[in-house]
Symmetry: C2
Subunit: 758 residues, 2 copies
């Protein structure tokens, strides 16, 4: 790879900084581009006519461009600050005077304003000859590089093209040439650049050169990034628009803007290994348990005791106000001061309200070096003016702990519901059991990590009867531990395969870490599924640069998550559909995307075909068709995919078909669906007015469960019908088979799962 002359860039930034500027002149942007090896028009900066005369022969094109060189004027064209002149000194003089007059008219002193004289670069105004390349620092994701359609119609195409087709963006972290190629290919303009659009034969540009150019920009972004402690300055934004394709296929910058600052991000890492003590504590301290009634602290205490993850004699209750010598609550020892703790404690749970006293308590905990981790259930940090001050103080306390040799304690929360850890055998949720029965069933391969406690509660209520997450973590305001910390820690857990993550906001630069961890998870074959809340506010944010106005925060997140293999759910239903599908199918094998569909209703066959997305309809092998024709009575089922067995097919005919399809080597995955209302299928629990009974081995759900369990192919099931058939659907679901009440949702969930392998 070419060495980039970062020194020159540094000196341009230093000079501008000395000039008390945070914005660069176009001339400086051109010099930076040239320093990194990107073409820009040769230019000179002049202060007066004499200087122009003496240096003009440096600019030798047919025409010359004269532009005002000042950060005072945002829209140079509007004030008349851009002029063209033929190659003739007099004409150039006249043009310079014209610009200076315009400057005067605009209220500035022409004497203090320099002009830039540049080469004039001829290029066609036809569609596709103007590109945009840029980078900027995203508050969550750090430096991202952008590529897309440029020119005056950048906004027009941003508004009208399909999402991601006008502007592609990527994190610059470890950005490979292949990834850059993918990024270019993602845009609509790609076909035109490579001459693949209809009615166009000419290749407009050498894609390798374009990749080079974007790679250079990415390296510039990484070098002068707030995350790089080795440089003084950071670019916040750097945009070339248009990057023109000249008539000779040369890529050349024809305008540029850049902003920079001289701050660096604080990236002190959390001691992530201490999350082990948070998730699997062997000793605990509860702060806020009432001795009299059932308050949240007391419920948590009881949960800790009954979970048996922490032995009773290792659970302590802190009651500083009470004086607690020799007292016990629920058989656990009360202490009035941390000093009374006989040994260090893995986890403290704090439920007392936000107050200066609570901050002080946490300070003491950290300073004592006796507490490895703290879950701060407490809300009230941050919502009001008082809360904000408390929050700042608490942040300071935690940061101070980082300077200790033990790095202090890790803190989860505040404003969280705590944690359910099945491996740790404990639960800090404090919802009465009659309103939220604990999740049942074997421990699953899912870690559910949610910024919202209420979402975690609703999720448990919705799917807890068949899916028990190994870990359900409510992480709240992320005052210390972030979502990425939990992801980083849990990726190493051998038994966790699926991360279901609900995010409201990412801490500064934590998005970048999230991408890093998600990529690591993907490389290990683990799945990260995310629901992101608060997607539209971002759009409202006023944004100065083209790229920010086209790709709002959510679009940035969408593209970067896709880059890192994170699966982003479109809505709450899809999030839950993905959670259960990804969890259940992790034990199956990935063969490919040839889908078999069986249903007993024609409308489902069509709806399923409409919903297959990237999947392909399998063609059954002749052997399978022949076997079925032999096994089943003639003419009742037509063995074409999708198979519509019709409502006349009974349990045996239907299941024989399912079994044959799952055995067919031409079929990689399947959707099995039945409208269970037909009298031909045994789909009801035993009742008075009929002879069906889903408890029988020969019933529809029992045979279906056996058929699907016998296959290592990914299969999802749909049972479209009302409450009468809930027992049937739940029985299938409880067997670990993803079960839906609509065939289109079933197919989409399966397609999303299989897409996650590509």
């Amino acid at each position: 790879m070419t060495r980039i002359d970062f020194k020159s860039v540094e000196s341009i930034l230093s000079a501008a900084h000395a000039d008390k500027r945070t914005t660069l002149l176009e001339y400086e942007v051109y010099r930076i581009l040239q320093a990194v090896g990107i073409s820009a028009p040769n230019s000179i900066l002049i202060s007066d006519i004499d200087e122009m005369r003496s240096r003009l022969d440096q600019i030798q094109t047919e025409k010359r461009v004269i532009k005002v060189a000042s950060t005072q004027f945002l829209h140079k064209t509007d004030i008349g600050g851009i002029q063209f002149a033929p190659r003739c000194q007099h004409a150039c003089e006249a043009a310079c005077q014209k610009v200076w007059s315009a400057v005067k008219k605009a209220g500035a002193d022409p004497k203090s304003v320099q002009l830039m004289i540049s080469e004039f670069i001829p290029y066609s105004a036809k569609f596709g000859r103007e590109l945009l390349v840029s980078f900027r620092v995203d508050p969550s994701f750090g430096p991202i590089v952008n590529f897309g359609l440029g020119g005056v119609q950048t906004e027009f195409f941003g508004k009208n093209l399909k999402p991601g087709r006008s502007l592609a963006l990527r994190s610059t972290r470890n950005l490979s040439r292949d990834a850059i190629h993918d990024m270019i290919r993602q845009t609509a303009i790609y076909d035109i650049l490579v001459g693949a659009a209809r009615g166009q034969k000419k290749v407009l540009v050498n894609i390798e050169e374009l990749i080079d150019l974007l790679q250079k920009l990415s390296r510039l972004a990484e070098h002068f990034s707030p995350l790089n402690p080795d440089t003084r300055f950071s670019f916040s934004e750097f945009e070339v628009n248009p990057l023109a394709i000249s008539d000779h296929g040369r890529l050349i910058a024809l305008d540029g803007l850049a902003r920079f600052y001289d701050e660096k991000a604080d990236l002190t890492p959390r001691p992530v290994h201490k999350i082990k003590q948070l998730l699997e504590p062997r000793s605990a301290l509860v702060v806020g348990a009432s001795g009299k009634g059932m308050n949240p602290g007391r419920i948590i205490l009881r949960n800790l005791i009954s979970g048996r993850g922490v032995p009773k004699e290792k659970i302590y209750i802190l009651r500083p106000q009470k004086g607690a010598d020799n007292e016990e609550i629920d058989g656990c020892r009360c202490i009035s001061d941390l000093k009374e703790l006989p040994d260090p404690v893995d986890m403290a749970v704090v439920t007392v309200p936000a107050s200066p006293r609570t901050v002080d308590l946490i300070r003491k905990m950290i300073e004592s070096e006796k507490i490895a981790s703290i879950t701060l259930i407490t809300s009230g940090f941050g919502e009001t003016a008082v809360g904000k001050k408390l929050n700042e103080e608490l942040e300071e306390v935690i940061q101070k702990g980082r300077l200790q040799e033990n790095k202090g304690a890790v803190v989860n929360g505040p404003n969280c519901l705590g944690i359910v850890s099945l491996p740790g055998k404990y639960n800090t949720f404090f919802i009465p059991k009659y309103k939220l029965p604990p999740a049942r069933g074997p421990i699953s391969n899912v870690a559910s990590i949610s910024q919202s406690g209420a979402y975690l509660v609703a999720q448990t209520s919705n799917i807890g009867h068949f899916l028990s997450p190994r870990y359900a973590i409510s992480f709240g305001n992320q005052i210390d531990l972030t979502v990425s910390d939990f992801l980083e820690y849990l990726i190493q857990d051998h038994d966790t395969h699926v991360f279901c993550i609900y995010i409201e906001g990412l801490k500064p630069f934590d998005g970048r870490r999230f991408l890093e961890q998600a990529t690591r998870a993907k490389n290990l074959g683990k799945k990260v599924v995310v629901y992101k809340n608060g997607r539209t506010e971002a759009g409202a944010k006023a944004a100065a640069s083209h790229t920010a106005s086209i790709a709002g925060d959510f679009e940035v997140l969408r593209q970067l998550f896709a880059q890192a293999g994170v699966l982003l759910a479109n809505d709450l239903d899809e999030f839950e559909d993905m959670t259960k599908t990804f969890s259940a199918l992790a034990s199956k094998r990935f063969y490919g995307n040839r889908l078999g569909i069986i249903t007993n209703a024609g409308f489902e066959a069509t709806t399923a075909s409409d919903s297959i997305g990237s999947l392909r309809l399998a063609s059954f092998s002749e052997k399978t068709v022949a076997a079925l024709q032999e096994k089943l009575p003639q003419g009742i089922i037509d063995f074409r995919n999708p198979v519509d067995t019709s409502p006349i097919a009974d349990t045996n005919a239907f299941l024989t078909t399912v079994e044959a399809m799952l055995e067919d080597p031409e079929v990689d995955c399947a959707v099995v669906s039945a409208v269970p209302i037909t009298g031909a299928l045994n789909t009801l629990p035993a009742g008075e007015r009929h002879r069906e009974d889903i408890e029988r081995e020969t019933s529809f759900p029992q045979r279906l469960i056996r058929a699907i369990k016998n296959s290592d192919k990914p299969v999802v099931v749909a049972i479209d019908s009302g409450h009468l058939y809930d027992p049937c659907a739940r029985k299938i679901e409880a067997a670990g088979i993803p079960t839906f009440r609509r065939i289109d949702r079933a197919v989409k969930a399966l397609a999303l799962y299989l897409d996650s392998f590509s």
Copy 2:
């Protein structure tokens, strides 16, 4: 409006037809355009150089265009069939010879091929100067006119722009200037045409002129349409691409193609008024009821008897094979021949298999003039070769009936599940009641009209416990009565407000009638909600014209339905969500789109805000906020929209807030949502381990129902939680309030409902 010279067009078509062609030459298209008042380059057609010489002074532009004029060559440019020449006879001669050589090289006899010499029209190649205008005959919807981006990049933009933004299309039926303006405004190019895009100040074209032009094309399409019996010829397709915007802002056609034929559609109408006898029969004939066991015919007989819509003594059973004198089944008289019917009968239900005998029976029924309507449950017409033949014969029998004075009988089906008519008090579904309990609750304002019987069954199972459609009609293969016939008939039913229609395919030109009836329904304030199955196959269909390749069948349907105010559901869940929402909210008042949101969970507040679509968040009036601050304890609820009451708010605090919000004049509509798992809300049925009881008047659901019923504003409810809370959700639902288990689905359904008023 300008008179259009249709006579000239007719004579051009006649001449081409005499020439045994179905495709017009570009020269002829130009002449047709000029006849209807649309600019095209002046052109001459020449057969040899002498003719050229004698006529060349008719073409007086700076340059001239010479093109091969033959329908043999599809891609004129590719064979060298287009040349340009300066205004000079010699140059023109040379160009003509060049084209003739190219023709020869392409394997044709130059002597038999004419050339067209045209004016050269200068225009800029910049983006937005090339448009596409066209019309074509859609098999379902008849003539549709198209407008969009033209030029070589038509496909590029078709592929990359958001749906409907590259090409807009409308039915030409009653197409007003306003509707044409809307159509142009729908496209991305509109902003550029009117000079409203960024970085562009110039108006490119006078929109009124463009509207004129599209109106002329629409009239041409309607006049030479297969639906117009007064003309001999019909255009199947007519396309101008590009329609260029010349440098002087003039609209001028620069290429054109047209195809035509000389057939007309058969549009014999069905006697739709006879649907009354089908839906509310006072006498009935059952064909296929077994005297021994419970076959479908016998179940239908029993349903007819128990429904009491038809008196028992007016129900007859036809048993032609048995000889049935004096026999009875379930107390109804059997006959062996239609002659034995004492009086004409409103409805016959036929369940015997498809066979020549069945066709013959229906022929006899029609010829007897004793049967007004027939429901043909029978499948087997059309699926196989034998079935296809039977189907054709049956069609003939029905069409012959139309020639009778009484217009024969109307036939519903075949391959349908029949009808449930609550006003007619009958049900021909033959599903055992233990598998599908009949819909409960008061008769609703919904007509559910479905091509699929299975869908209708699944729908009844899913929503029947709180919503009973007035009519549930399974219309099957539409051998006679079409979906539009049912819509037309039922629109006049005063008590039907919402039409929920499931469509797999539309009969030829029945789409046009559907649009007509849907428009009529909209004008009456009634809502037509459609789920269309089989959306993707269409895309695969190879299509010759630009417009067909950009807008496949589903895109055509999507845009035309939008034009007619039909609400198209994206998936099965949304279809059902719309059904229940539109039905329940019909009794509420439409105030506007200022939405109030209340929830007890922060994640729902954000998710709801993310999902509001075209709705706006209301700002509560000061009065409301003051009243709430007085009524409720300080500090527990922050009265900003969306209101997050937090899980601490009890039923009283939550409902007091709901009531205040619904009374606020600044709020037009509302979403009320609670995660019911909090111990603060009384949301469970009575149980042993707690004191909640949703049967109590003060419980959460009961208070919520009263609050919503007391308001005339549209309100939807969400209860996100598991099965434990089904009773709570169902109680609210049973009170006629649209209830969801996800807040985003609730908000989207409400937004769709309110959008239907615009």
